[in-house]
C-alpha cells in the first residue's frame, strides 16, 4: 500500500490534474470489457512464472532465472508451433510440452550444479537469463527470422497451435483456464503429495531433511526443474495465446515480478492468483493512465519498486521476528 502511495505521490508531482490521473489509474483497468480482459490476460504469464517461483522458494532454492526459462520456453514453444503439423488441440498440447520441457531443461543445469558442487544458484540462474536473451536475439537475427519481416521476429505459429480468445474484443485467451488448472495442480502437489511434503520439509530445514533420509540433491534439482517447467510453459502460452510469434525482449520483467508475486502470496499457490492479478492491474492501470492522462507510463515502475522494497523489508522483518521469537522460546527453557 505504501508502494501504491509512493506512486500517487509521483502522480501528484508530475501531473497537471492529479486527481483525474489517479482516478483513471485506478478505474482504468475496470472501465471496459477490453481493459478487464487485458488485465486478466496480463496476469496469465505472471501466474505461471509465479507458481514456478513458489515451488523453488518452498524448497529454499532461489531461482532468479525464471526470465530466461520463460524465454527458452517461448522459443521452443514457437518452434513447435511453427514447424510441427498437428491437429488443433494436439498442436497446442505439443507446444505446451515443448515449452515446459525446454524451461525444465534450462533450469536443470543450475540445479545440477547446485546439488553437485554447491554452486550458488542465484548467480548461475541470473547468468542463464542473459544467455537466453542473447540466444533469442541471435536466432531471430539469423536462422529463425521471418523472411517476410524486415525486423527481428520469428515466423508466426500455425493457426492450429493458437489458443482461442474468450472475451472479445479483449485479447484474453483460453490460457487463463490452463493457468487456473496449474494453480490447482501445484497446490495439490505441494500440499497433498508425498514428494511435495518432502520438498517443503527440505526447504524449511535442509539439515533435518538430510537427517530424515530425504535426498537434498534430488529436491534441489526437482524444484529447479519444476520451477523452470512452469516458467517455460508461461512463455509458450504467451506465444500461442497473444503474440503468435517470438520477438525480442517481450515482457522483460516477468521473471522478476514473479518473485515479488510469490513473496506477496507468501509462497502459497492459491495466493499467486490475487497477487498476479494485482500486479497485472498495476501494469494496465499505468498504461491506461499513460494513454489518457499526462502521467508517464513508467510511473508503474515506481510503484513496483516501492512494493519490491517493502516486500523485501517485510521478509526481513519476518526473519528478525523469527529470531526474536526463537530467543523467547529459549528463555522458557
Amino acid at each position: 500500500m505504501i508502494g501504491v502511495g509512493a506512486g500517487f505521490i509521483a502522480i501528484v508531482l508530475t501531473s497537471s490534474s492529479p486527481l483525474n490521473s489517479m482516478y483513471v489509474f485506478i478505474t482504468g483497468p475496470f472501465s471496459s470489457i477490453y481493459w478487464i480482459g487485458t488485465t486478466l490476460n496480463r496476469a496469465i504469464p505472471l501466474i505461471f512464472v509465479g507458481l514456478g517461483i513458489t515451488i523453488a522458494f518452498k524448497a529454499r532454492v532461489f531461482n532468479i532465472g525464471a526470465q530466461g526459462q520463460f524465454y527458452i520456453g517461448a522459443l521452443l514453444g514457437t518452434l513447435a508451433g511453427v514447424y510441427l503439423g498437428l491437429p488443433p488441440v494436439l498442436h497446442v498440447a505439443a507446444v505446451m510440452a515443448a515449452s515446459g520441457l525446454a524451461g525444465a531443461a534450462y533450469a536443470f543445469l543450475p540445479g545440477l550444479f547446485k546439488s553437485r558442487w554447491g554452486t550458488n544458484e542465484i548467480v548461475t540462474t541470473l547468468m542463464f537469463n542473459f544467455i537466453a536473451i542473447h540466444l533469442i536475439s541471435y536466432l531471430l537475427a539469423n536462422q529463425f527470422q521471418d523472411p517476410m519481416a524486415n525486423y527481428n521476429v520469428s515466423p508466426s505459429v500455425r493457426s492450429s497451435a493458437t489458443l482461442p480468445e474468450i472475451l472479445s474484443p479483449s485479447p484474453l485467451h483460453a490460457g487463463i483456464l490452463i493457468a487456473v488448472l496449474f494453480v490447482l495442480l501445484v497446490f495439490v502437489f505441494l500440499d497433498k503429495s508425498v514428494f511435495g511434503y518432502k520438498l517443503r520439509l527440505s526447504g524449511l530445514n535442509p539439515d533435518f531433511s538430510r537427517y530424515g533420509g530425504i535426498d537434498r540433491g534430488v529436491v534441489i534439482i526437482a524444484a529447479m526443474v519444476l520451477s523452470g517447467a512452469l516458467a517455460g510453459l508461461g512463455g509458450g502460452i504467451r506465444i500461442i495465446g497473444v503474440q503468435g510469434k517470438l520477438t525480442e525482449g517481450f515482457l522483460p520483467m516477468v521473471g522478476y515480478d514473479a518473485i515479488n508475486i510469490s513473496l506477496i502470496a507468501r509462497n502459497h499457490p492459491l495466493g499467486i492468483v490475487p497477487a498476479a492479478l494485482f500486479f497485472a492491474f498495476l501494469g494496465v492501470g499505468g498504461e491506461v493512465a499513460g494513454l489518457f492522462t499526462d502521467v508517464s507510463p513508467h510511473l508503474v515502475n515506481i510503484i513496483k519498486a516501492g512494493i519490491f522494497y517493502l516486500v523485501t523489508a517485510q521478509a526481513l522483518f519476518g526473519f528478525v521476528e523469527k529470531l526474536i521469537s526463537e530467543d523467547r522460546l529459549e528463555s522458557l527453557a
Binding site: 511434503y197 537427517y211 530424515g212 521469537s325 528463555s331 527453557a333
Partner: protein, 511 residues
C-alpha cells in the same frame, strides 16, 4: 520481607506472559543481597531465565517492579543493565569466533585513539582481569580454538571489563566436565570474595548447592522457596522443584544381548584440515545392550555419530550394519537398515521447526503403504498416527497442526523420541538425549531407552552427562581427541572422577 537496606536488588510482583499464552512468571518476588552467591534453581520452563531476562532488559514485563539500590529501574536493553552494573552470561555465548579473547572482551569499549585500535592495550587490560581472578585463559588465543569452558570465561571477562558488579550466569555448568565445573565454581567464589554479586541459574541442585550462599527455588512460574538456606537437604530442594520426588535410580536387569547390530573397524573421520576428528575407532554393538560413549564436547563424538548415521563419509575404516557394509553417504539407506537417530542438536537437525507437529512426526511413515497412495498423502492416516504418538509419548501440544517452534524444549525432544523409537529400530544412536531437559523429562527419556534395550535394540548412547552414562550403560567407552582411550565393562565400578580424568586425557589406560 523487603528491606531496602538489606537487599540491593529487589524484584517484586514480576509477571510475564508470552504471546503464546505461557505464563512464565506469575507474581514473582526475588531478593538479592550484595556480595552473595544466589542460586536460582528450578526445572526447565520454571521461569528462571525469563525472570533474569526481565531483569536484564531482554524481556518486557507485564507487571512488577525492579528496585536496584533503592531506585526503581526498568532496563530497556542489556546495555542499559550493564551501565547499572548488571551483566548476564547466556547459555548461548555471544562471541565472535574469529577474533581473539582480548578483542572480544573489549568489543564496544575498545582502547585506542580515534579510529585506531590498540591491540596491545586490549591484551594488557584483559590480561590484568585474568590475573585478578586467576582464570586459566590465554587472552590472545582465538575464540574459535577454545573449549566451551574457556569461552565461558571470555564471556564473563567481557562483562567484568564493562564494569558489571552483578553477574547472572545461566546454566554455566551445563556444558562443562566435572573438572572444568570445579574450576569454574572456584573462580566464581573468587569473584564473590572480591565483592561481586552472582546469580547462578541451574536445574542441577548439586551444582547450585556447591557454590551458593542462598537459594531461590522456582516451579511453574512461581517462587516456591524464597531465600532457602543451603543447609537443607538436596531431597527437600528437589521436592520443592518438582513438586514430587523423581528418582534417578535405575533398576537394571543384565543385558540379554543378541546379534551384532553395529560394528566399526578402524573408523577414521578427518576434518577440513585433514586432521583426524575420529581416529581409528573400532567397536561392536549388540542388540539389547547400551554402549555408552563418554566424551567432553568437541572430541570427535559428534563426527562419529554423523558417520554412523550416514550423514558424513568416513575417511577410512568400515562401518557394518547388521553385517552389511556401509558405502558412501546415505542417511536414507542407513535408516532403511533399521537405524534410528536422536541427534544432539534437536532443534536444528531433529525437527523442521516451522513445519507442523504432524509433519515432523510422520516423516518415517509417509512412504509406507497405508499412509500414501499413488504419491498422494493419506492425511487421515497420518493424523491418526500423529495423534497416537502424541498421546503415547505425552507430548504437550495444543494442536497437532501447530508448528514445532511453539513447543518447549522438552516436548521437542519427546517428539524426536516418539518418531525415532516408534520405527522399531534395530540400532539407536542417542546423542546427548537429555541435555537441557528437566528431571521429569530426563527420567522419561531414560525409561524409553531402557524399554528399547529390553526389546532388543542396540543403543549407542553418547553423552557428557557422566551419571547418565553410568546409570544406563552396560559398557562404557571413553573417547578423547577422537580415540577410544578407555573401556569399562562394569560401569558400576568406575567413578565419575575417573571417567572425567580419562575424558580430559590426563589419565591413560593401563594396558
Amino acid at each position: 520481607m523487603s528491606d531496602s537496606e538489606e537487599f540491593f536488588l529487589e524484584m517484586e510482583g514480576i509477571r510475564k506472559t508470552y504471546p503464546n499464552g505461557v505464563r512464565a512468571n506469575k507474581d514473582v518476588d526475588f531478593y538479592v543481597r550484595r556480595g552473595e552467591v544466589h542460586g536460582l534453581v528450578g526445572e526447565n520452563g520454571a521461569g528462571k531465565t525469563t525472570l533474569m531476562k526481565v531483569l536484564y532488559g531482554l524481556e518486557g514485563r507485564d507487571a512488577g517492579t525492579v528496585t536496584l539500590d533503592g531506585e526503581k529501574k526498568r532496563f530497556q536493553s542489556p546495555e542499559d543493565a550493564i551501565r547499572s552494573g548488571i551483566g548476564m552470561v547466556h547459555q548461548h555465548f555471544r562471541l565472535a569466533p574469529g577474533f581473539s579473547v582480548a578483542e572480544n572482551v573489549v568489543l564496544g569499549q575498545e582502547p585506542g585513539e580515534g579510529p585506531r585500535f590498540d591491540f596491545d592495550r586490549a591484551v594488557e587490560r584483559t590480561g590484568d582481569l585474568v590475573e585478578d581472578f586467576q582464570f586459566d585463559l590465554d587472552v590472545t588465543s582465538r575464540v574459535a580454538d577454545l573449549s566451551v569452558g574457556k569461552r565461558q570465561y571470555a564471556e564473563i571477562l567481557r562483562l567484568l571489563y564493562q564494569g558489571a558488579e552483578t553477574l547472572v550466569l545461566d546454566e554455566p555448568t551445563a556444558v562443562l566436565t566435572p573438572q572444568e565445573t570445579e574450576k569454574l565454581l572456584a573462580s566464581l567464589e573468587r569473584l564473590a570474595d572480591s565483592g561481586h554479586t552472582l546469580i547462578f541459574i541451574s536445574h542441577k541442585i548439586e551444582k547450585a548447592l556447591a557454590v551458593s550462599d542462598v537459594l531461590s527455588v522456582m516451579r511453574d512460574g512461581e517462587i516456591v522457596g524464597e531465600r532457602v538456606d543451603t543447609k537443607i537437604s538436596q531431597e527437600e530442594i528437589s521436592r520443592l522443584m518438582v513438586g514430587r520426588e523423581v528418582s534417578l535410580e535405575v533398576d537394571r536387569v543384565p543385558a540379554e544381548t543378541g546379534e551384532l547390530v553395529l560394528e566399526t573397524r578402524n573408523l577414521t573421520v578427518r576434518g577440513k584440515d585433514e586432521l583426524p576428528l575420529v581416529d581409528n575407532v573400532s567397536f561392536g554393538l549388540q542388540g539389547g545392550e547400551i554402549l555408552g560413549i563418554a566424551a567432553v564436547q568437541g572430541n570427535g563424538q559428534s563426527e562419529l555419530v554423523e558417520a554412523l548415521s550416514g550423514l558424513r563419509e568416513p575417511s577410512a575404516g568400515e562401518i557394518f550394519f547388521r553385517g552389511q557394509k556401509l558405502e558412501g553417504v546415505s542417511p536414507g539407506k542407513v535408516r532403511a537398515l533399521g537405524l534410528s537417530y536422536v541427534p544432539e542438536d534437536r532443534t536444528e537437525t531433529g525437527v523442521a521447526s516451522e513445519a507442523t507437529v504432524t509433519e515432523n512426526l510422520t516423516l518415517p511413515w509417509v512412504d509406507l503403504p497405508g499412509f500414501s497412495r499413488s504419491g498422494l498423502l493419506q492425511e487421515k492416516q497420518l493424523e491418526r498416527k500423529s495423534e497416537e504418538l502424541i498421546s503415547k509419548f505425552g507430548i504437550t501440544v495444543s494442536n497437532p497442526d501447530s508448528p514445532v517452534s511453539s513447543l518447549s524444549g522438552g516436548n521437542v525432544q519427546k517428539l524426536v523420541l516418539a518418531r525415532e523409537l516408534s520405527r522399531e529400530p534395530k540400532i539407536l544412536l542417542a546423542a546427548q538425549p537429555t541435555r537441557g531437559l528437566d528431571i521429569k523429562t530426563k527420567r522419561f527419556v531414560w525409561d524409553e531407552l531402557l524399554e528399547k534395550r529390553s526389546e532388543g535394540t542396540g543403543i549407542l548412547l553418547v553423552s557428557s552427562d557422566l551419571p547418565e552414562v553410568r546409570a544406563l550403560s552396560d559398557r562404557i567407552a571413553v573417547v578423547c581427541e577422537g580415540s577410544i582411550v578407555a573401556r569399562f565393562d562394569e560401569p558400576e565400578r568406575v567413578s565419575d572422577e575417573d571417567l572425567g580424568l580419562f575424558m580430559m586425557g590426563t589419565k591413560e589406560e593401563k594396558s
